[in-house]
């Protein structure tokens, strides 16, 4: 009897460990649009527009997928000059994770018990998700394009809250989030671990009257890795000479 009890106790940590999914590996973006995920969508706040520009698809001028821009933001978008984006100084400007996560590039995840590192091929960005709140940065800490991400598990879903993001584009057409944007992401595995699905929700009341969410999916590729993204602003000269 005692031997059997020890056997059960010994198995418990394994059971607990198995309850936490392992997202580690190389994930290629599924470039097709996906519908709101039935397991992630219920967690998205009311008054949130679903942006259907995931992957290579992007919105045209003055198209924001249901986001309600404040008047000042709308005016800035109207005055946005796309050609300015193709200047040498802007051609390699790094977006924040708000735009970059859904960009048509793969990610690679290294998952530990205390942190999870997400390498993004797009602009060689690397995100760190801290499972310990002591790594939450104070309000006056520097803002970056990857921000400060604190994570926890809710069942089989990884929930990540990111702040301290530096202002950057949301939709690549003249709409930028502020330094005070807050991003809530949920990740889960699907198809027996062959797919990774995420919702990325953001709120930025300084510029928007509602919130936005993107649903993003990736498929697992064994043996591939994120490669370097050496951005050469010389591409701007090719546009300029046309």
């Amino acid at each position: 009897m005692i031997r059997r009890l020890f056997g059960v106790l010994a198995a418990l940590p394994l059971v607990a460990a198995a309850a936490t999914p392992d997202f580690s590996g190389f994930w290629m973006l599924e470039r097709k649009q996906i519908d709101p995920d039935p397991e992630l969508a219920p967690h998205v706040a009311p008054n949130t527009a679903v942006l259907r520009d995931t992957g290579a698809a992007e919105f045209g001028l003055m198209e924001f997928g249901g986001l309600k821009l404040k008047p000042k933001t709308l005016e800035a978008a109207k005055n946005w000059n796309p050609k300015a984006e193709m200047s040498v100084s802007n051609a390699c400007r790094i977006p924040s994770i708000v735009y970059a996560l859904q960009g048509p590039f793969p990610i690679e995840i290294f998952q530990g018990s205390d942190i999870l590192v997400m390498r993004m091929e797009y602009f060689d960005m690397a995100r760190t998700f801290f499972f310990n709140k002591r790594f939450a940065m104070p309000p006056d800490a520097p803002h970056t394009k990857t921000g400060n991400s604190i994570a926890h598990w809710e069942g089989d879903q990884l929930v990540v809250v990111t702040t301290h993001l530096k202002s950057a584009t949301i939709t690549n057409n003249g709409l930028d989030h502020t330094d005070n944007v807050k991003v809530i992401e949920r990740f889960r595995l699907a198809n027996g671990g062959k797919r990774l699905i995420a919702s990325q929700e953001f709120e930025d009341p300084e510029i928007l009257d509602n919130r936005g969410v993107r649903y993003i999916s990736w498929y697992k590729v064994e043996g591939d890795h994120v490669t370097a993204y050496d951005c050469d602003p010389g591409i701007a000269e090719n546009y300029a000479t046309q």
């Binding site: 698809a57 193709m86 010389g234 591409i235 090719n238």
Partner: protein
């Protein structure tokens, strides 16, 4: 619309230009396929490579196309991100200056001699790497 331009000249270039001008917006946003390129049109050029850069954010193939009157047009054809193109079989040595190539793609909305490559056939007439499609480029 699908116009093919021969090595000896360009057929329908004016028509292409006019159509593109009509479809043009002021948009030439970096990285924005939907804004910058017209996925409902296709353009094809045949000519000689005079330059090839294979660097992020986009590779660029420069193709000189001789027109019927003997003058020359210089097209610039943009690849997807080279880090992605490597996975589709391209390398920085896929194309060389002097190669005679045929490039098909989606034209710039503003009428410039600029396109996003769907497929590029090398001197042997075979496609380099795996061609793109609208679904791939547009995320559909």
């Amino acid at each position: 619309m699908n116009h093919r331009h021969g090595a000896k000249g360009i057929v329908g270039r004016g028509l292409v230009g006019a159509a593109l001008a009509l479809a043009a917006t002021a948009a030439v946003a970096h990285h924005s396929f939907a804004v910058f390129f017209d996925h409902e049109k296709q353009v094809s050029v045949h000519g000689t490579v005079s330059g090839f850069v294979f660097k992020n954010p986009h590779g660029v193939v420069v193709v000189d196309v001789v027109k019927p009157d003997g003058s020359k047009d210089t097209w610039k054809a943009e690849t997807n991100s080279p880090s992605m193109m490597l996975r589709r079989g391209w390398t920085k040595d896929s194309i060389h200056v002097g190669d005679v190539v045929t490039v098909e793609g989606w034209p710039a909305r503003d009428g410039a001699l600029y396109m996003r490559i769907r497929e590029l056939k090398g001197p042997d007439g075979k496609p380099i790497g795996k061609p793109a499609d609208v679904a791939t480029e547009m995320g559909q």
